[in-house]
């Protein structure tokens, strides 16, 4: 498994397209999310030139995991689309806070439960890499919108995660906003 990260221009040629197609397979075809798609690729308005991607590939350079990181000082998913998940609080806007989204660690050649994506060793390694990447960009905390159930899996895996507000059913899916603290115990996992 190899993990790399960067903005679109900094990724190896062709990898950005691979990630978009992988996201289509996972989020649109498997999870049935209603997202913008074109030519079997999934990209939205938050896929910008400054968006940071974390990508896991196997030895044959097939993508089997991805994550998207956005600074909260510019438009991001939670603020623009799901601010109601914050229980009335203003969405964070700080260089210390980055948003984690489009996280998946599903090996399309070896299907497991979609909720298992957060309990597998690959998912944990990908999340650790995402946290390290965000920290390298100055983040002290991550905020994420996710399905209910992810918080428990994050905590079981040893991450310091806690909910930012009550869950809500949106488009038929119960989702919530979750903080992931990049504090000492978490950092120690990938020193």
């Amino acid at each position: 498994m190899q993990v790399m990260s960067g903005v679109p221009e900094g990724l190896p040629q062709g990898l950005y397209s691979k990630v978009a197609r992988y996201r289509h397979k996972v989020f649109v075809e498997q999870l049935d999310w209603e997202l913008q798609t074109q030519d079997d690729a999934e990209l939205d308005q938050f896929d910008r030139s400054d968006t940071v991607y974390v990508v896991a590939q196997d030895d044959e350079e097939q993508v089997f995991g991805c994550a998207r990181l956005l600074p909260t000082t510019r438009p991001y998913l939670l603020r623009e689309v799901f601010p109601q998940l914050l229980n009335g609080l203003q969405p964070p806007c700080s260089p210390d806070v980055w948003e984690l989204s489009r996280f998946a660690a599903v090996d399309l050649n070896n299907q497991t439960s979609t909720l298992g994506q957060f309990s597998s060793p690959v998912a944990i390694k990908l999340l650790q890499a995402s946290i390290a990447c965000a920290a390298a960009h100055g983040a002290k905390r991550l905020i994420a919108v996710s399905v209910v159930g992810v918080e428990r899996l994050l905590r079981r895996a040893g991450f310091h995660a806690h909910r930012a507000g009550p869950p809500m059913v949106i488009d038929g899916h119960p989702i919530f906003a979750c903080w992931i603290e990049l504090d000492q115990p978490c950092q120690a996992m990938f020193v």
Partner: protein, 128 residues
Amino acid sequence: MITLSDDSYIRLTLETFLATQLVHFSSGLDEDKPISPQEGASFAHISGYTEWLSTTTPTLTIGWDWGLDVSQGQPLYVRLDAPRSNIMLVDAMQYDLGSAKTSVLLEAVIDALAWRKEVHQNITTRYA
């Protein structure tokens, strides 16, 4: 008094929390988690989670894992592990009790709450 802080935690005393009504939001079965039995208990391989909300504004949210204990003959829903919530309990002077103490107190409240029937009805309906 219920206070929503910038760190997303809702701060309130235990007394206020005990006086707050909680309503069921959702419950579900674990699909890929192995059971870790507690000492003295025997679990059928059935476990899941449940989520509850307050009717207040701002909203309290609390969820916990449960397992089905069959050691006593009659299946019994039992809370597993610490609850997950946006609650930070405070003392009479409004000082935080801290995450650990808050968790212990929330566990005691959950264990005394009448949640099992609601979860059972929800699970049996959802997975019928």
